[in-house]
């Protein structure tokens, strides 16, 4: 029984680590995309300068786009940072659990060696403490998870304002005469990049939720004292 429990546990832990690592992997490409958005903003600025009065309304928009790009990059690096913390907590939890599983095996072995049914008091105390410790770590983990989700939410809000800017850009572009199509291309580029980031954030969010489910499953497993292997 212990073996089934511990192999299930290893599986859950592995899934958990994979889920967390996937968040970082998903986010890695966002930096590149936000750089592309900045580049598009610079492009738009150059076009707007050439268009002069015809693109007056477009100029402040380019500053906005730039700002959004910077904000997205900042938020995403924040998400990455929080993900590292989450992963540390998952590892701490893994250590505590692993030690508890092995101490549980030790109890059985010790009883066999000493030919007794009375469990070693110190080991029992360790297991009790380790359950408390697991609960603490899991609480910290849940808090960290919420932190992460709210950061993702904030990033999403930034993206929504970026989308609005794209719509405004298109309207302004229609007033720019012969520069209309160049400005529209820029607006499309930005819209395309924003869409990509949104997709990545959705995937990251799913990974975080997946990680949280894994942790919950983990929290459901307790050591049955005295079970044999």
């Amino acid at each position: 029984m212990q073996n089934i429990e511990s192999s299930l546990q290893v599986k859950i832990n592995v899934d958990l680590f994979v889920a967390i690592a996937s968040v970082s992997a998903e986010l890695a490409s966002v930096t590149t995309i936000s750089r592309q958005i900045s580049l598009s903003a610079k492009n738009a600025k150059a076009i707007a300068a050439r268009a002069g009065n015809k693109a007056l309304g477009f100029r402040p928009i380019t500053d906005f786009i730039d700002e959004v790009a910077v904000n997205i990059a900042k938020l995403v690096s924040g998400v990455d940072h929080e993900t590292v913390k989450l992963s540390r907590l998952a590892i701490a939890n893994f250590y505590v659990e692993d030690a508890a599983a092995k101490v549980n095996t030790t109890l059985n072995k010790l009883n066999r060696l000493q030919e007794t049914d009375t469990d070693n008091e110190e080991l029992i105390q360790f297991l009790d403490k380790s359950i408390d410790l697991q609960e603490t770590v899991q609480m910290q983990y849940r808090r960290q998870m919420n932190e992460l989700l709210s950061l993702l939410e904030e990033t999403n809000t930034q993206l929504q304002s970026a989308e609005m800017i794209c719509t405004t850009s298109r309207t302004e572009a229609t007033r720019a005469g012969e520069f209309q199509s160049s400005l529209e291309v820029v607006a499309d580029e930005v819209a395309h990049s924003v869409e990509k980031v949104k997709k990545i954030l959705r995937a990251s969010r799913l990974c975080v939720i997946e990680a949280s489910d894994r942790m919950r499953m983990n929290g459901g497993i307790r050591y049955t004292l005295g079970t044999t292997e």
Partner: protein
């Protein structure tokens, strides 16, 4: 896991814990040593993750959990100390005595709570409450930072991988016929030991020690005249044999 007493006086006892019948196949068999005082115990080369439960259970037949305060790691190998992260979790107060050279490496095994006592290249005395043990240099035998434990009172030398033999499961604790034992040691020493110079230097120093039992980390222990026989045999053995095997490039 079988526990055998090697030496006992009023202050402390030497024990070897070995021949774990539950050891998974393909894992090299290891000897774990325990020195216990009344209220304190030192584990020497506590072994790998896979045998942690067996070693802990065997240890707790001898002493209390809270009394295990010290671990000695002769070098950084997985069969020596990969269980470190678990001891770190389980023991409330733990000092690890290990080569200074390996600190940054050994810390990869979750050493978050324990205290690392780095042993300098020239060696160090490790003290418990009422007894002391000499960590003597055995560098390049086989690891580049490597120590053995010598106890002048018990006349025991815990010799790490030196004197190791690859044995069938359940082999006796002591060498009974040295000449027969030689073949179980030859390849191990020729292939795992890299330096004839390091070997000669170690033999020279060890010959100056008064040794009743030489206790390696694998295989059987040497007693009485077999210690001198081992030193003579090792002196003549050419080690570092893989050097001639660089045929691919």
């Amino acid at each position: 896991m079988k526990v055998t007493s090697l030496y006992n006086n009023e202050t402390y006892e030497w024990l070897v814990m070995a021949r774990d019948p539950e050891k998974p196949d393909k894992i090299i068999d290891t000897n774990q040593y325990l020195i216990k005082e009344k209220n304190r115990a030192l584990l020497l080369d506590p072994g790998g993750i896979e045998i942690f439960s067996s070693v802990l259970a065997a240890t707790l037949t001898q002493t209390k959990l809270e009394h295990i305060t010290d671990i000695f790691g002769s070098h950084q190998d997985p069969d020596i100390v990969s269980s470190l992260g678990l001891w770190n979790e389980v023991l409330p107060k733990l000092t690890l005595h290990a080569p200074w050279l390996w600190e940054g490496f050994l810390r990869h095994f979750n050493c978050s709570k324990l205290e690392y006592n780095p042993i300098p290249d020239e060696g160090k005395i490790i003290t418990l409450d009422n007894s002391e043990f000499h960590a003597i240099p055995a560098h390049y035998l086989h690891a580049s930072g490597n120590f053995h434990i010598y106890d002048p009172q018990a006349k025991i030398l815990m010799s790490g991988d030196v004197g190791a033999a690859l044995e069938a499961p359940g082999a006796p604790i002591f060498v009974e016929n040295f000449d027969e034992h030689v073949e179980k040691m030859r390849f191990f020493h020729q292939r795992w030991m890299p330096s004839n110079d390091a070997k000669q230097d170690w033999i020279r120093r060890v010959r100056g020690l008064n040794i009743e039992i030489m206790a390696p980390q694998h295989g059987r222990l040497f007693r009485g005249d077999d210690v001198g026989r081992f030193l003579n045999w090792f002196e003549r053995l050419d080690v570092g044999i893989a050097l001639g095997r660089s045929g691919m490039i």
